[in-house]
Symmetry: C2
Subunit: 447 residues, 2 copies
């Protein structure tokens, strides 16, 4: 069997996804050597008689917990990890609880309470392994009583409507929560904490992923009140919110710990799966297959079709002039774009990217474009993305489909379905946003 | 948090399932030490310049392939594994194709043809890792042309209707197939073959699991013709069948290789996940939790409610007399029972087992019974099974549900759903049949 450009592009994408598969991400960063746990660059001696607690939240939580159990074996005492409904995977000692996402629900509140109860057992001999991944914030809602989940959601909505930015919203929310903004690290104290993170946030900011339950927070109750005041929400927010924040400012509730707080001396936050890690794995495979590689960016955001047009322009340039890089070449990028919905069709940002790129490389020989969600889903479809080349627009035309019209209707799915060019990976349980791979063949087949 | 009997029983069950999770099963039997592959007790030096091909079929194929890639890294050249629709998992180099199960389809036929084409590339320097799991036979249909899939299905139906036993049916089918009955080992020759097997067949017979593609077959074309003759099917079977078998007997097609055939000198078949392995892992966990363990059998078959009655009788005996074993005790059994459907309800064999057992242990204090499918599904439900104790029948009564009536209507699901006693694990992608765990507490709480 001869290798095709299309086969290569899928293999390169899958190499990226496989590297951040939750279990593999844990196993490639965590090793047990005798009684010492090697976590990335860190060496953590386990205390004889000490116990390992496994906690966390996020869509990838179950397979991450399975990998931790596999590595730490008898060291694991017990645990509790909250996942989105249906995101299960067989584990032994760790209790996996399901809760609501993206909208948090009471199951999540109950789970968070149980998690806090479990952490009360920890001593200075213990290690808490905390597993965070996409969805972790919604899955572990822990409003400080008497604030309720509904109160918290209400103030979040008010802030969003008022135009508050994500930093402001997070400041308020962290001051209404028992776990976010370093709360989990405080609850785990005096045990040491090792947090393993699969990041689905552009740029991987530790304080934002799952709202930073084991990361210091420089903001204060006073800041939170100022933000409510700034948007004239002091009166409109639920009473419990104002009361809790005011009491907090008066010292009646513990302030979110800053990064200099002593509790963080025993805390390690380790990124084990990121868009960059996926890109690097994809890049290695591309090189092994003989391509020169260029990583354009791991943080592509913005309107999908514009990003696609830019990628297509670079592709054409290389295909026609071998500038700025020589062929065969693999271009890689990551991040997560958005789609401004104008039509009524079926698709997702990755399929839309590939369709827009297909229009941009129409007729260009020896090129192929793939974009896919590392979680295996793209919009409300069963596809992760799609694959296209210089013949895509023409092949669509021969079956009566006008690529531009389909793009304008945000209707990429039926087109790629018809052409057999959907990328179907099934759910991967991981999520480090999207990965785009463009290949330009060794030589121009028409030259 | 105090540990409950119920928490323990679920943990013990999950320990069994986790041990045969496809990736973990592969990783616990396969290690790379320098250039030597350790497969169970076998040491297989890899040949410098040699390549590893990964092939196979079965519902667990994708995560098994992922684990092989993780262990063998750059050694893996390429591969092709066929899975049931939707049974995907992210892998890098191995192509995962989806096909029909339990009814084979043309996608499976096409995949089998590609697999044979891939194996044509192998040389004596190469290693073929073959991954087999439940469903492998249906997923890799390879009728010897001009026999078609429809012809093969027709003769199978005729044999079933005629009362042929499974051994006879397999003899005929292996002689109509290019891959079954040692055919895959022949196609892989002269490369070495390492077959890793997750068994969903009671007793783990290597020649039956996935129809033994890398196992010798002592039967002949003549035997196959005799079987058709015995059931008066020589005339009624499709022409292509009779022709192929007759030509085979005349030496025009290669006979299925016997286990003494030279091609098997380089073939290792290794069971990496079995019901017994799951039971052993469950047993270890039960011991670690302080229970004495008794494995009743890994091969429980027959009518579900009768098996349940027997298990309940033993449970009562131990609970009341501490005979024949002392408490706290964990009874374990495996295998797969059947349910003769008499009612119109919703359930599965594991839920039916637990409901029947609940009736048998009604009022017995300090006991708990769990039965679950290791694949995470039980009948046409989203549950893997259920958990019950001496209070189950009474609790059902208080919500207006008569346990005996529900059992007689094969309607265990709504009862356990109402009581909150369903066992939900989500799909595990593995399958080594069912696992039953019964716990009898340290002391009789009423004594």
């Amino acid at each position: 069997m001869e290798r095709s450009l299309r086969e290569d592009v899928i293999r390169i994408f899958m190499a990226g996804v496989a590297a951040v598969e939750p279990g593999r991400a844990v196993r490639s960063h965590l090793k047990l050597e005798g009684d010492t746990l090697l976590a990335g660059q860190h060496r953590m001696p386990l205390t004889p008689g000490g116990r390992v607690f496994v906690v966390g939240a996020g869509k990838a939580g179950a397979p991450m917990a399975g990998a931790v159990e596999e590595i730490l074996g008898e060291w694991v005492y017990r645990g509790l990890v909250v996942v989105k409904y249906g995101h299960l995977w067989p584990v032994e000692k760790v209790t996996i609880l399901e809760a609501g996402h993206p909208l948090p629900d009471e199951e999540g509140v109950k789970a968070a309470a149980k998690l806090l109860e479990l952490l009360e057992e920890t001593t200075e001999h213990d290690l808490v392994v905390c597993l965070l991944s996409g969805g972790g914030s919604a899955l572990l809602p822990s409003p400080a009583p008497p604030v309720t989940l509904a109160d918290k959601q209400k103030v979040t909505s008010l802030l969003l409507e008022s135009g508050a930015d994500i930093g402001e919203i997070n400041c308020v929310r962290k001051h209404l929560s028992l776990l976010k903004g370093g709360g989990l690290a405080r609850a785990a104290n005096p045990a040491r904490v090792l947090t393993l993170i699969l990041s689905d946030v552009v740029g991987d900011p530790l304080d934002v992923i799952a709202s930073g339950p084991t990361v210091g927070d420089p903001t204060t109750f006073a800041d939170a009140l100022d933000i409510l005041d700034k948007y004239n929400l002091l009166e409109r927010a639920p009473d419990t919110i104002r009361t809790h924040l005011t009491q907090g400012m008066e010292g009646k509730h513990p302030e979110t710990p800053t990064s200099g707080d002593a509790i963080f001396s025993g805390v390690i936050n380790l990124l084990i799966g990121t868009n960059t890690i996926a890109i690097q794995a994809a890049e290695e495979t591309a090189r092994a297959l003989g391509y020169q590689t260029s990583v354009l960016s791991a943080t592509v955001t913005g309107e999908t079709r514009e990003a696609a047009a830019a990628h297509a322009a670079m592709t054409r340039e290389i295909a026609f002039t071998s500038q700025p890089v020589t062929r065969p070449t693999c271009l890689l990028s990551g991040g997560e774009t958005t789609v401004t919905i104008r039509g009524t069709g079926k698709g997702g940002r990755n399929q839309e990217f590939v369709l827009a790129a297909a229009i941009g490389i129409e007729g260009v020989p020896g090129t192929v474009v793939l974009s896919g969600g590392t979680d295996g889903t793209d919009g409300p479809t069963d596809a992760a993305g799609a694959v296209a080349d210089g013949t895509t627009v023409g092949r669509a035309k021969t079956v009566g489909m006008d690529a531009v019209a389909y793009l304008n209707n945000n209707d990429a799915y039926p087109l790629f379905e018809k052409l057999g060019d959907l990328l179907i990976t099934g759910p991967t349980l991981t999520n480090v946003m999207d990965l785009r791979v463009i290949l330009i063949s060794p030589e121009n087949p028409e030259s």
